[in-house]
Amino acid sequence: MTRRTRYIGWALGLGVAAGLFTASPAAAVPETIGSCVFEKLVELEESGSSLEALEEEGEEAVVAFSDDLEKCVEAPSLIIPEIDEIIWGGSAFLVLFAFMVWKGFPAVQGAMNARAEKIAADLDAADQAKTEAARIKSDHEAELAGAKAEAARLIDEARGQAEQVKADLVARANEEVAEMRARAAADAEAARNQALADLRGDVSEIAIGAAERVIRTNLDHDTQRALVDAYIDEVAGRG
């Protein structure tokens, strides 16, 4: 509403209020029966006549004046509409109707429709947001389930690898133990052989020396050695 329209509205409103105030019960003085009769008597006197003169004129004059006085007690008709009120009331309604068709009703209806559309749009947006949120939730749930499955798979895989490592370690340890045992056995065998060889040499040297001194016979060195070796082999075969 422009400032000018507002001023016009205020001016009209004040005008109507002032008019209503001047037409209020305090300002309006409806005619009473007494004042009406008084006015009729004044009119009679102003016309140069009087009640006595009317009586002298005869019964017809008295009846005519009495009928005139009767009008003072006649109430204004309630049911017969006044022409001026019909004109003003009817035109007031038509002016208001024209205004409502032109401006008032479409403006209010438009505001109501706009609000209804806004509410519908907001509801649609909320619905879409709700659907989107549900979709995101289901995506997250799917991702979570995938992550859980992946974690379980990784754990299983790690467990399998650990088992494998454990088995490998055990196998390697067994191999190493067996190897060490074999090496120890070989070392023992080699030591035994070495010991036997050393012993054989020492024994043969001792035996040769001893035999030379015992039999005093000159045997060549190679014959003595062969004789001792044969003896040792015989002893070893027995042992």
């Binding site: 409806p30 007494g34 009120e85 003003w88 208001l96 009703f105 209010v108």
Partner: protein, 254 residues
């Protein structure tokens, strides 16, 4: 005590243009006031606002429009009656504001206790529902459906047709006008009676003080509340009956 005739309570002297067809008295000022108030309400309510929930004067206008649409038009005519919404809304607000002045201090006169507007509006309604009936059904179709409603045995049309003729084309506008006018007259008389009774008892003094304070004055307050209800109810009844008549003309009985 000397009281003026009852008619003096309603027949207000002219303020301007006395003796012409355009004489303005208190009743006419109330009509003009009703027009201005309704215009202001709808102008203010029609302004663009961003608020989702209507408040104040916007709420008044929108409640009125919604009330007319849902409780009057949709109940009596149906969706095709929405084209009559501006007319029926105007009628409701104009009658209501012309009625409610009976309880507004200083004004204290229901403009519809004068026969002018009830009679004029009733005549307008008569014209509208007959034109709507003729346009919807054609002249002969409208007459046939109005005067020979389906249902009763053919022999009964001797009685039914004259009754329908009188009730549809003669009695309706009178009943419409007189119902509104008589209710407003009766209401105004009630309020005046209790107001005068209160003043008279108070002026008498003595027991009159108690009578005024505990009987007539509380009753006057009660009657004011009752008349506010009557003002609304009569505006609603006039409007809904108008819609019923228009709806009846648009949709003949099957």
């Amino acid at each position: 005590m000397n009281f003026p005739p009852v008619g003096s309570l309603f027949d207000w002297p002219s303020i301007w243009f006395e003796g012409t067809f355009f004489a303005i008295n208190k009743t006419v000022l109330i009509y003009i006031g009703s027009v201005i108030i309704t215009m202001v309400i709808f102008l203010l309510a029609g302004r663009r606002r961003e608020t989702l929930v209507p408040s104040g004067i916007q709420h008044v206008a929108e409640s009125g429009v919604t009330f007319i649409e849902e409780s009057v038009v949709m109940q009596t005519i149906g969706p095709e009656g929405k084209k009559f919404m501006p007319f029926l809304t105007t009628m409701f607000f104009f009658i209501f504001f012309s009625n409610i002045t009976e309880v507004i201090p200083v004004i204290q006169l229901p403009a519809n206790s004068r026969m002018a507007v009830p009679a004029t509006l009733a005549a307008l309604v008569w014209l509208i529902y007959n034109v709507v009936g003729i346009r919807s059904q054609g002249f002969f179709g409208y007459m046939k459906n109005s005067l020979f409603p389906p249902g009763p045995p053919k022999a009964l049309y001797i009685i039914v047709t004259p009754i329908e003729l009188v009730s549809t084309f003669l009695v309706r506008p009178f009943s419409l006008a007189i119902r509104l006018w008589a209710n407003m007259v009766a209401g105004h008389l009630l309020l005046v009676t209790f107001a005068i009774l209160s003043a008279t008892m108070w002026a008498a003094g003595g027991l009159g003080y108690a009578g005024a304070l505990f009987l007539s004055w509380p009753m006057l307050i009660l009657m004011i509340g009752f008349e506010i209800l009557v003002s609304f109810l009569q505006a609603f009844i006039f409007t809904i009956l108008t819609a019923v008549y228009i709806g009846g003309s648009m949709h003949p009985e099957h």
